[in-house]
Amino acid sequence: MKNSLPILAVLAAIVAIWYAAVAPMNIRGALDVAERSGAEVVPPASVDRFEQPIWRLMIDNPGHVAQGYSLDRPRLPTPVQVGRELWKSTGEMALKGRAMSKRSLIYHGWITLQATLWGFALGTGLGMAGAIAIVYSRVVNMSLMPWAIISQTVPIVALAPMIIVLSSQVGIEGRTVPKAIISAYLCYFPVLVGMVKGLRSPGAAQLDLLRTYSASGLHVFLKLRLPASMPYLFTSLKIGIAAALVGTIVGELPTGAISGLGARILIGDQFGTPLAIWAALFAAAILAGGLVTFLDFAQRVTLRRMGMQA
């Protein structure tokens, strides 16, 4: 495919940079391992090596540079290592029938996906309702819009723990609801902004035409504003679902969470297993990619059925 060539070129460049970065990033780790196994390293003491810049270490220990690509706990794992870890915690477990085990990223991804979809539904609903209110009411436009913008300036990492604490105070069990709220908080905004723009996209002539038919407000909405907003809506939904996923993962980070991709990332950090972090990170990225691709597909189908060229 002609379209995939530029994408693959960029991907190849990223992978190349990644591989090139692995050696300097892991040289200290590689030398530590080598020292422990009795090999000769320069300088021999770990403490002294801290004083040295990494490029110096690489020049002095050319024989150990390659070891940086096969460490158990690398600072920066290679793509292959990440891929292997990802496979171990997803496909391989699924093949053994343990897809829903607590060690499986499929299980954690499912937890995250659930909260994301709930948050996405909530956020999209709120965003669309808010957009309709803003377009149809000057008062709402002047009162709600500034707050919508301010809401996005509050750092979500600061807000997330509060939402979790407050929702447990009002007796909400489990984490799905607070996570969905956090995710909705992030994803309603692009939907709101996109829908406002979309609902306002019909020009004066289009509105005049409907006036010459003495069309009701409901007709103007259903026959003109809503269909005219569809291309805008789908663009917003794609941004929104990615934001919803980020919101859910942030909601899983505060201590106490044990399931979900966010919790895996945090636990991996606490237990010093960088491969687990990277695998969870990639699982999240793949999940996001899948969700956006699905919406992209829905957009194409919908717009094509509406006769518009997507």
């Binding site: 038919y213 026959k223 005219a228």
Partner: protein
């Protein structure tokens, strides 16, 4: 005003006025102060007439058309459409309006675009289909009913928008520079078609243009307007016959009318400077 119904022979001359304005004024309040868009407009448009409004930009020709359509509200004077206020006439579906841009909905096929007013006005599905077929035939687009607007040329889109305005059988057709954005050849063709359509449907047509040949070729009555304030400088009853081939434009009668329109426009401009 309704005596016309008795006569079965289409009679274009008698003054059974469909649109009637007397001493019509419209002043827009803008940030830069009041703008006198229309001033002392007096005109009677009879049933079945083809009236063109011509003048430079800012002369209020479009504004007057919008007043008839109740898209603008005059600030003074009298205006009746079919003997009613413009607002009431609109609710009674007295007119179809064709805008400068075809303004077809890109998400609707041609037939669905024409169905738009019919859906809003609550026609039954079978009635809709019959009307769509009839008006598509009228504008010679029957083979394009399933196409989407982007698949049609500009001229075809404009024909579709005329079909849309005709679909609900309004007696009056208001057209605001409908062919302004099209090239000369397409415009000639559409002018010819429009005259044919007018002869077949016997509608009353109000037509805004800034092309002198177009106004003279199409109209039974030409209203020359001038700007600041927008007013009528001349009303010309066309002496041209009802049947008009395109080459009528080379006849002395045609050129004489065109000359008088040009004079009227020039007079308006001198006042302006």
């Amino acid at each position: 005003m309704q005596q016309m119904a008795k006569s079965s022979v289409p009679d274009r001359s008698p003054r059974s006025s469909v649109i009637s304005a007397s001493n019509l004024d419209l002043t827009f309040q803008t940030n830069d102060g009041p703008v006198h868009a229309l001033s002392g407009i007096d005109i009677d448009i009879g049933k079945g007439e083809f009236v063109s409004f011509i003048g430079p930009s800012g002369c209020g020709k479009t504004t007057f058309l919008r007043c008839i359509a109740a898209l603008e509200t005059p600030t003074g004077g009298q205006l009746t459409v079919n003997g009613m206020t413009p607002d009431a006439a609109r609710r009674a579906r007295a007119y179809g309006y064709v805008f400068q841009a075809a303004g077809l909905y890109p998400w609707r096929s041609i037939e669905k675009n024409i169905a738009l007013p019919l859906e809003i006005m609550g026609y039954s599905k079978s009635d809709q289909d019959a009307r769509i077929a009839r008006v598509l035939d009228l504008v010679e687009l029957s083979n394009f009913s399933k196409k989407y607007p982007w698949q049609l040329s500009g001229g075809m889109q404009q024909r579709a928008s005329i079909a849309r305005a005709l679909a609900f059988d309004a007696d009056i057709l208001l057209m605001d520079e409908p062919f302004g954005a099209l090239d000369e050849i397409v415009r000639d063709h559409l002018n010819e078609q429009l005259l044919e359509l007018w002869a077949r449907t016997e509608k009353t047509i109000g037509f805004v243009t800034h092309s002198i040949p177009e106004a003279v070729y199409l109209s039974t009555k030409i209203v020359v307007m001038s700007p600041r304030p927008g007013r009528i400088t001349d009303i010309i009853e066309s002496p041209l016959p009802a049947k008009r081939p395109l080459d009528i434009r080379d006849t002395p009668e045609f050129l004489q009318v065109a000359h008088r329109v040009r004079e009227g426009l020039r007079a308006g401009h001198a006042y302006d400077d």
